[in-house]
């Protein structure tokens, strides 16, 4: 007889969502979080896309610590001296509850509180050392030498899943699987943010950047999100390219981004109030391990559920959704009193039916497009050349835009055949 129906390792969006759903279904669940308080170890960009919180709590719109709802979304290429920007602002975002900026040290305590209110037992400041196994089956966890038993364990440890790796349930992370995320939270008065980003009330702005000004072949994406009275700004740096360069410091990229001529004015008079960093799951479908086995399931970032196509970064939505699916699979397993791999395979089935695995499969290989010289170097500099050609008046006859594009391609030593091929690949994968 196990002490718990379920033990959930990790009190982030995946783990807390699983614990909430399990407790709502009268399961006897223990949620173990190593941070004290919850959220104090966790970093996100962070835009929470979608209405996943609504599946956990009816009062989420009133009580969840959402900073701002998204009203404006931009994508921008930065070169050393230029910014090429695509802006999309719409009232549809608010009406359709499209996305919200959040800060994890505020969001996660709310999620964990919801789990507690639903009836889950929660312990914080407690680190699970490893899984407890019997006859090859997971039967609980080991914490500080003591065994705590459960019918099943849900691993929701986040982007650096030590227990899953150390237990051989996930391969050690490699360059292809991850990027390095660095971030600052910059304090600014609410009024200043509203004026600077053309926002009113609780409307918010989010922008994803290609940092085309970086040197030595280093590739990184940037982000800038408005919170209520602060700005979250950061960079997601490709581990592979940073390694190949072996002369650029990850923390310097944060600095370079924040001091770019078209970023620095947005942060002016702001006070850096926190610096943070975390691994980011970036490997897409190829990084996803086997998601279940005898007595266990893996959810959220620990399972590699994240999505990035350069236009948007998503992870917390998949975390919530996969956490809920794991909980539902476990509720069914409990009804059959069968916690075997075959029984818990319902989790995989649920994920395959939901948008989680569908997205992972649709965008298979997307990471090879988003992390490429074409996106990070060639394309930004070509765009800059074309724009300059369009607007610069130098007393010479003007050229057609097509000719400017061709000139720019030739100065970048790109053949039109390759450009078309790359463009086609990009569109097909995005």
């Amino acid at each position: 007889m196990s002490e718990f129906d379920a033990i959930v390792v990790g009190g982030g969006p995946a783990g807390a969502s699983a614990a909430i759903k399990l407790a709502q279904n009268n399961m006897n669940v223990l949620l173990v979080e190593r941070g004290d308080p919850p959220g104090s170890k966790n970093v996100s960009g962070g835009v929470l896309w979608g209405t996943g919180l609504g599946e956990l709590s009816d009062d989420w719109e009133k009580t969840a610590p959402l900073e701002r709802y998204l009203e404006s979304k931009s994508v921008a290429f930065l070169t050393e001296k230029s910014k090429i920007n695509i802006d999309f602002s719409t009232k549809n975002f608010e009406e359709q509850k499209t996305g919200y900026t959040v800060l994890r040290a505020k969001l996660d305590p709310w999620l964990v509180k919801k789990a507690r209110e639903a009836g889950a037992m929660v312990v914080t400041g407690v680190t699970v050392d490893r899984l407890s196994k019997k006859d090859g089956k997971v039967v609980g966890v080991i914490q500080d030498g003591d065994e705590i038993t459960a019918d099943a364990v849900i691993l929701a440890e986040g982007a650096n899943p030590r227990v899953a790796i150390d237990s051989g349930l996930r391969e050690p992370l490699k360059d292809h699987d991850v990027a390095i995320g660095v971030k600052e939270v910059i304090k600014l008065p609410e009024k200043t943010i509203n004026e600077r980003f053309n926002l009113r009330g609780k409307a918010g702005y989010a922008c994803e950047y290609v940092l085309g000004f970086l040197k030595d072949g280093v590739e990184a994406g940037g982000f800038l999100y408005t919170n209520k009275d602060s700005i979250s700004i950061g960079a997601v740096i490709s581990m592979k390219h940073l390694r190949q360069s072996n002369q650029v410091y990850s923390f310097d990229i944060m600095e370079e981004f924040a001091s770019h001529p078209f970023i620095a004015p947005l942060l002016e008079e702001g006070r850096v109030d926190e610096y943070s960093a975390h691994l980011v799951q970036e490997g897409g479908l190829s990084s996803i391990p086997k998601l279940y086995g005898d007595g266990y399931m893996i959810a959220g970032d620990a399972a590699g559920f994240s999505f990035s196509n350069g236009l948007v970064l998503q992870g917390m939505n998949y975390a919530i959704s996969s956490g809920i699916s794991a909980a539902e699979a476990l509720v069914e397993a409990k009804q059959k009193s069968d916690f075997s791999s075959a029984s818990l395979s319902r989790y995989q089935q649920k994920l395959e039916e939901s948008y989680v695995m569908k997205d992972m499969r649709t965008f298979k290989g997307i990471e090879n497009v988003t992390w490429s010289k074409m996106i990070h170097k060639t394309f930004p500099s070509m765009l800059e050349n074309v724009m300059m050609g369009l607007f610069k008046e130098e007393g010479k006859p003007k050229k057609h835009m097509m000719q400017l594009v061709l000139d720019s391609m030739s100065s970048s030593k790109i053949k039109s055949k390759d450009m078309l091929l790359q463009g086609y690949r990009m569109l097909r994968r995005m």
């Binding site: 190593r34 104090s40 966790n42 600052e184 926190e274 610096y275």
Partner: protein, 90 residues
């Protein structure tokens, strides 16, 4: 803002009795790249007088070094008992 200043903004509950990350100095001595010094976003890895120096106290538990070190020197475990970095925003 310099990395040292940025790190000084952070709150830590340092575990004086447990170093959650350890490195193998024998491996680090032979290391041809010391990529850890470039990858670690908290500048925990530095070269002092030609030797790799690691300080766990500034670690933000991001997990980068465990991937960055391809020579098997870094042994990474989670902090225990709520020790380590404590973000107020995250």
């Amino acid at each position: 803002m310099k990395i040292e200043e940025r790190l000084s903004l952070l709150n830590y509950k340092t575990d004086k009795s447990y170093e959650h990350i350890t490195v193998n100095p024998n491996i680090c001595e032979e290391c041809p790249d010391h990529f850890c010094t470039f990858a670690c976003p908290a500048k925990c890895y530095t070269i002092i007088e030609g030797k790799l120096n690691f300080k766990y106290e500034d670690c933000v538990e991001c997990g980068t070094c465990a991937v960055a070190c391809s020579h098997g020197s870094v042994s990474w475990t989670n902090t225990k008992g709520g020790h380590g970095v404590k973000y107020k925003y995250g």
